[in-house]
């Protein structure tokens, strides 16, 4: 974990293997001045982030969890260090998110467990597991406002006695009950372990020295078993079923339910996953996103920021400054402030084109997520995506790809397994045109006529399906089946949506910016060394002979390496027939993605895979473009 906070002298205990052994069986009182680590843990969609935001205020630290690609947010509340964890249904190592939550819980001194009061049967499984791990726990029953609307009544005192830990009531949206959070942290304690389980734990405890790890090993956690050099246990089924039964008995005693009218929001949710109503809702959602991202941001806002702020204000100003130190025509000047200048084009691209788009896309995503529509969309498209070896969750990177392929490639991390990451990353690189490129494609196609639009769309869609199908058929392994809970449809809260968007945008910009600069630098060097011209000359015969396009189109293809939209824009001032436009646009869409997305691909998917995909895009672009040309022209 990133301990990079330079906030004073608080001693952060090293969390290495030896340190863990100091906790053998008993709770050692922490040193008076040590920072206590508090982990916020809960199922997905229980409002955890609202608790985190309340506790940490503005000062948070977003970082990658070591060894994984999951973002971890850390903040400070009084003398406590607060960790937000990815939402999970239980502690184990089924995916990256679980691994991160597992390790944070193992290292935490106190666990603040957020429980959805409307779905306690589901959430208390995790609660009981945390208690069985021997952690100090406090439970916050959230969504108390919705409990009544659902006709539920919960005997919280009885629940607290069953669990053996404090249970507090909150409504995170109005912050009701938040004044008690500090008390909850202070009063967190070890709860009631299942007696049968407690007995079982004893043997393993002597090996691991930590109850939490002993439990996870018994439950078959291979990673934790590996750390202690013992084989993972085979008792997961028994322990899980016993725990589930215990929760069911508890629920029978503490929860009473009377029938109430179905809420409108519930109906909306049902329609979203129903055969006939799902499609119009999907189309409506896509249209709204298009209006917001495609029209308002990509056209109106970006044309202002990119042209006015970027090309007319920033770039001349930068050139003026640079001219005092280097000649703009020297090779160094070209790299800094030339056509693809690191200080000119790259900055304009990053800040004035990409940033507004990324914010708009993340904002749309956050609204879809917080309203509860996104998991329903994933459900609705699940079967279709199964055909190309993905499950419904892959809809997120695929949608984001239409914004920025680089951003989407990073998002493939959230998918279930390596196979799904490989397939979706490849599809993104091959067949998804990003927004910057789409704008140019749309403009050129609009001039070329309806038939051209049809041929272009069918070709790109076919490649999309073909790439997915081929990879699905050839790669070993299977697709993770979809298994997600659908949270109630709710009106998203502005502050939560805003924060999420801000975190993600910040995280993306921090992650991607160096690659954009590196890419521009690389192309700048190609330009000053004359290699760019060599490259264009190599491509020229293919362009004129095979694709039957003017020689200058080769330049556009090479420019597409820097920025996909540059490539497409290069075609503007060539006089092309409608069929030539289709050929050129198909080629350029399938072509090498922009250099930043390629570099992120190398980083995310490794050298071998990225090289194969990159080479593949060249081959497929020229092959398909050429075949189309031979058929059409």
């Amino acid at each position: 974990m990133n301990n990079g906070s330079a906030r004073g002298t608080t001693k952060i205990p090293p969390h290495n293997h030896v340190e863990r052994h100091k906790h053998i069986g008993v709770d050692i009182a922490p040193e008076a001045n040590a920072t206590l680590k508090v982990a916020l843990v809960g199922n997905p969609n229980v409002g955890k982030s609202l608790f985190f935001n309340y506790l940490s205020g503005m000062y948070v630290d977003v970082s990658n969890y070591p060894g994984t690609t999951v973002e971890v947010v850390k903040g400070r509340f009084k003398s406590y260090e607060i960790y937000d964890t990815p939402g999970v249904y239980g502690i184990s190592s089924f995916n990256d998110e679980e691994v991160v939550t597992r390790d944070i819980v193992l290292e935490a001194d106190i666990v603040l467990n957020i429980v959805d009061a409307v779905h306690p049967e589901r959430d208390l499984f995790l609660t009981q597991q945390l208690i069985d791990m021997g952690k100090k726990v406090s439970v916050m029953l959230n969504f108390m406002d919705e409990v009544q609307a659902h006709g539920l009544q919960i005997d919280t005192q009885l629940l607290s006695r069953y669990l053996g830990v404090p249970v507090l009531l909150t409504t995170a949206t109005t912050r009701a009950g938040f004044d008690q959070i500090e008390t909850a942290i202070e009063h967190a304690r070890r709860g009631e372990q299942d007696p049968a389980l407690h007995h079982r734990l004893h043997t393993m405890l002597s090996i691991t020295g930590s109850e939490a790890e002993a439990l996870l090993i018994l439950e078959g956690d291979e990673a934790i078993a590996g750390r202690h050099g013992v084989p993972p246990g085979h008792e997961r089924d028994t322990i899980y079923i016993e725990r589930r039964n215990r929760i069911n008995i508890m629920i029978d005693a503490v929860l009473s339910e009377k029938n109430v009218r179905t809420r409108v929001a519930t109906l909306f949710g049902r329609w979203a996953v129903s055969t006939w109503t799902g499609i119009p809702m999907l189309l409506a959602a896509l249209y709204l996103i298009y209006l917001f991202v495609g029209k308002l941001v990509a056209q109106d806002i970006v044309s202002f920021t990119e042209t006015r702020l970027g090309r007319e204000l920033w770039e001349p100003w930068m050139r003026g400054i640079a001219a005092q130190y280097v000649s703009p025509t020297s090779w160094f000047g070209t790299i800094l402030v030339g056509e693809f200048g690191v200080l000119t084009m790259t900055v304009t691209y990053l800040l004035f084109l990409l940033l507004p788009l990324v914010i708009a896309f993340y904002l749309s995503l956050a609204i879809m997520e917080d309203s509860g529509y996104l998991p329903r969309l994933a459900t609705f498209v699940d079967r279709s995506l199964n055909a190309i070896g993905l499950n419904g969750r892959a809809v997120i990177p695929l949608i984001l790809g239409f914004g920025c392929v680089t951003m989407a490639t990073i998002t493939t991390r959230l998918l279930g397994n390596e196979r799904e990451k490989t397939i979706s990353a490849a599809i993104l690189q091959f067949a998804i045109p990003c927004s910057a490129q789409l704008a140019v494609v749309a403009a050129l196609l609009a001039g070329a006529g309806f038939t051209s639009i049809l041929i272009y769309s069918i070709t790109i869609f076919s490649i999309f399906v073909a790439v997915g199908t081929i990879l699905h058929r050839t790669l070993p392994g299977t697709t993770t089946p979809l298994l997600i809970d659908l949270p109630p449809m709710r009106l998203p809260r502005f502050d939560n949506v805003a924060r999420k968007t801000a975190y993600r945008t910040y995280f993306f910009m921090r992650e991607a910016t160096p690659w954009f600069f590196a890419g521009a630098l690389g192309v700048g060097i190609l330009q000053v060394t004359g290699l760019l011209t060599v490259w264009q000359n190599i491509l020229a015969p293919f362009t004129t002979g095979w694709l039957q396009l003017p020689r200058e189109a080769a330049t556009a293809f090479v420019m597409g390496m820097v920025r996909r939209d540059f490539g497409a824009a290069g075609l503007y001032h060539l006089s092309l027939s409608p069929n030539q436009i289709v050929v050129a646009l198909v080629t350029i869409t399938l072509f090498t993605p922009c250099i930043a997305s390629l570099m992120v691909m190398f980083k995310e998917r490794g050298f071998k895979e990225a090289t194969i995909v990159w080479t593949g895009t060249w081959v497929v672009a020229f092959l398909v473009g050429g075949l189309l040309s031979q058929a059409l022209i």
Partner: protein, 89 residues
């Protein structure tokens, strides 16, 4: 006693079901966490073309992909029959 059943993706929309069997391994653990295990009652809210299933279990809606739904065996039951921890009061 072995109860006869049908795979979940063939269940009728709107029907109340008793879970008869769930698959082994990781999927089993994932299902138990969500409260889907042998003997529990669920309601089938939707079966999409292709077999993605949406079920309801104690006010919680859960979506299950067809490849997993195929492995879950269920038996239709009457909706009035009290469930494992059904409504009281």
């Amino acid at each position: 006693m072995k109860t006869s059943g049908i795979p979940l993706h063939l269940a009728a929309k709107g029907s109340t079901l008793i879970i008869v069997d769930i698959p082994d391994g990781k999927n089993r653990a994932r299902l138990i966490r969500l409260g889907i295990l042998k003997g529990e009652r669920v309601r089938c809210l939707e079966v999409l073309p292709g077999g993605t299933v949406v079920i309801e279990k104690n006010r919680q809606e859960i979506a299950i992909g067809v490849s997993l739904a195929r492995l879950i065996v269920v038996a239709p039951t009457s909706p009035d029959h009290p469930g494992h921890h059904g409504a009281k009061k």
